[in-house]
């Protein structure tokens, strides 16, 4: 800082620089609250930039900070608003609302995220959506439930109570385990030295044959390395899905058991991270813990908002380019269907495949009429029914090919 001044006294300078760095630190915090990834190194670089004279004009400083702090297009577009609001004191449209949710961000434990965030996001989307949209979809969901009950024999195979029968639990687990095993490995283009490979590894061959004067007697070969796939499951636990939630919870439990890389989330009107609870060895106890977490389940479904929460807070950690996301839901969205479409597109960019399992799909005369599923369909790689153990098994070959 000392290099840029018009030689003020030492005391004075110290005071000024302290003020400036406090302000800069506050700005970094604001950015973090807005889901920017900003580390210590960025803070140091920002100070260096201000010292280098970029602070002379606000426009220049904004442009410089924008390049430094943003890391993706969404951040790039939001940055100017945040900068103006913070440094120039302009009130900018919805930015202030996002910043208002800083309570949750300051205290980043997952539990508080679950509790606070959906409320914060709910408040801005809620004004025009909830009152009108709430009644009709819930009615439809109710219809679905009744229809399901009347077809009890049709889906008897997976009835929750029936599954309490040890044989069928065992079968469900076996299916999940088999599914898990074939999906665990997949072909990649990376090679690994192998004795029985398909390609000669020239480098290692020469190195290994120096003792023979360079005549390649022992060949070293390469073969493709098998690589585990990461599986992320999002389970709809709303009222309209209540018939199926139990079965799928057991399925997810099996998957988490078998996979080294699997995560599970539960959503209804909010999103909850349930991997830890599901990793409980004993299925019964895991379900108990879950039922506590899933309280509030059975109401409407805000798939879009739940996905938004997922994309914003969990996706960077949980997803990589070789992940498969499995969403289990009937697609009855009580929130904003357009938001769901947008979030599905964002999710699609982050992962390799999106599989949407819809238990209702196998019902006679079912058509994807619900607004939610219509918005989501273009972004889905596989849309399949999953109302019986058989249909879960049929999923296996597809997932093995991923």
């Amino acid at each position: 800082m000392s290099c840029c001044g018009n030689s003020p006294g030492y005391e004075e300078l110290d005071e000024v620089s302290r003020l400036v760095s406090a302000k800069l630190a506050a700005f970094l915090r604001t950015l973090r609250d807005n889901a920017f990834t900003v580390g210590l190194q960025e803070g140091r670089d920002a100070a260096a930039l201000m010292a280098a004279g970029f602070a002379d004009r606000p426009g220049l400083l904004r442009s410089a900070f924008k390049h430094l702090f943003s890391a993706r297009k969404s951040e790039w577009e939001r940055f100017d608003g945040i900068f103006d609001a913070f440094w120039l004191g302009k009130r900018v449209k919805s930015r202030s609302i996002t910043m208002g949710s800083s309570k949750a961000a300051n205290n980043p434990s997952l539990k508080s995220l679950q509790n606070n965030l959906p409320e914060a996001t709910g408040s801005d989307a809620g004004t025009d959506q909830i009152p009108s949209g709430d009644d009709t979809p819930r009615d439809r969901a109710g219809e679905g439930r009744m229809e399901g009950a009347s077809r009890a024999d049709n889906i008897a195979e997976i009835d929750f109570r029936k599954l309490a029968d040890p044989d069928q639990i065992a079968e469900a687990h076996a299916t999940a385990a088999r599914l898990a095993k074939v999906m665990r490995t997949r072909l990649t283009r990376r090679d690994l030295a192998r004795r029985r490979g398909y390609r000669v590894d020239l480098r290692r061959t020469i190195h290994g044959n120096i003792s023979h004067g360079g005549i390649p007697i022992h060949l070293v070969k390469r073969q493709r390395k098998q690589k585990p796939l990461r599986l992320v499951m999002l389970l709809d636990a709303s009222g309209s899905m209540s018939m199926y939630t139990g079965v799928f919870l057991r399925f997810i439990h099996g998957v988490l058991d078998e996979f080294r890389q699997a995560e599970a989330f539960l959503f209804h009107t909010r999103l909850a991270y349930v991997s830890d609870a599901m990793k409980e060895k004993d299925a019964g106890r895991a379900l108990d813990r879950l039922s506590i977490m899933a309280q509030g389940a059975g109401g409407g479904t805000k798939i879009g908002e739940s996905l938004q929460t997922f994309n914003r807070w969990h996706a960077p950690r949980v997803l990589h380019s070789r992940s498969c996301v499995i969403i289990v839901s009937d697609g009855y969205e009580t929130g904003d269907a357009a938001l769901l479409g947008r979030e599905m597109a964002a999710l699609g960019r982050r992962c390799r495949r999106i599989v949407w399992l819809n238990p209702m799909m196998a019902w006679e005369g079912y058509a994807p009429e619900a607004a939610g599923i219509k918005a989501a369909l273009p972004h889905i790689d596989l849309y399949a029914p999953a109302n019986t153990l058989k249909s879960l098994t049929e999923l296996e070959p597809y997932l093995a090919r991923l």
């Binding site: 930039l49 442009s63 297009k73 090679d191 120096i210 360079g214």
Partner: protein, 290 residues
């Protein structure tokens, strides 16, 4: 500060018409010694930035094109196996250690782009193109290289950078990049240029295009981009089209609507888009171009 204006001037002199913020980004690259990550639609001129930057610094451009399965031997270095084999045969009977020392020396090392970039006496521009096509593992490896700028070769030891290259990464967003890599880089989003800037680009690249024609072409392309197309034409396509029109001797788009419609093939690259932009649509779009 002076850097920034100088860079803007030199970019313009080398034929790259940059938006104001890009000059800032490039001066930051130098100041903070960080790589620059460019994102944007295909065809907005991301790769051109690297070429222009090489021009600005009057230095070499080293390009690494990424693809799935790209590995160390294609990106960093490889031993020249054939020469090593020959050498072993030629020195048959000598001490094994001596042969080994010989065949694992600089002479038998093949430089690949990344190694080449850190061993130049003058900092080159290193363009890592379409990083989103490479694997996660490669990304992690690149991250390490970009922070240390040194490479260790087991047979030869550690090679430290002679100079730190100016690194530019580009991404089309086919795959989400890791947050670690994004954090390490400065970020710049390259958007389609506005009509005014695009006209200047046309004039800079195609000398024969006059100011009024260039502006007409740029406005026309701008309104075509607003149509619902499957593949939105990029700047490269605009330049193709401008070259075609100039080559056919067009000096005003309004005089020759037929030629304009016929040559739209330079911009519209799918059957669907081609059939969507009918003669009527062309007429309507032309009408908007003053």
């Amino acid at each position: 500060m002076k850097d920034r204006e100088q860079i803007a001037q030199r970019l313009a002199a080398s034929g790259y018409i940059a938006d104001g913020e890009l000059a800032t980004a490039i001066s930051l690259m130098q100041l903070l010694k960080r790589p620059l990550l460019l994102e944007g639609e295909a065809g907005v001129g991301k790769t051109e930035v690297a070429k222009a930057l090489a021009n600005v610094h009057a230095t070499e451009l080293i390009r690494l094109q990424c693809y799935e399965g790209l590995d160390q031997s294609a990106a960093l270095y490889e031993w020249n196996y054939q020469r090593q084999l020959l050498s072993i045969q030629a020195h048959h009977g000598e001490q094994a250690d001596a042969i080994e020392d010989q065949i694992f020396s600089e002479k038998y090392l093949l430089e690949r782009p990344l190694l080449a970039a850190i061993r130049r006496p003058k900092s080159p521009v290193l363009l890592i193109d379409e990083i989103d096509r490479a694997d996660d593992e490669f990304e992690a490896f690149l991250l390490e290289l970009l922070s240390d700028f040194q490479v260790s070769i087991p047979e030869l030891g550690t090679i430290s950078a002679v100079t730190i290259p100016h690194v530019i990464l580009t991404s089309n967003g086919t795959r989400e990049l890791s947050d670690a890599l994004r954090r390490r880089c400065l970020y710049h989003y390259v958007d389609y240029p506005d009509a005014d800037r695009e006209a200047r680009i046309i004039m800079a690249r195609i000398g024969a295009a006059g100011a009024s024609l260039s502006l007409q072409i740029a406005r026309m392309v701008e309104s075509i981009r607003k149509e619902e197309l499957r593949k939105v034409p990029g700047v490269a396509e605009t330049l193709d089209w401008a070259a075609a029109l100039v080559g056919l001797g067009v000096s005003d788009l309004h005089d020759t609507p037929e030629v304009v419609h016929e040559t739209l093939m330079c911009l519209l690259k799918t059957h669907e888009d081609r059939s969507r932009v009918t003669r009527e649509v062309t007429q309507r779009l032309l009408g908007k171009v003053a």
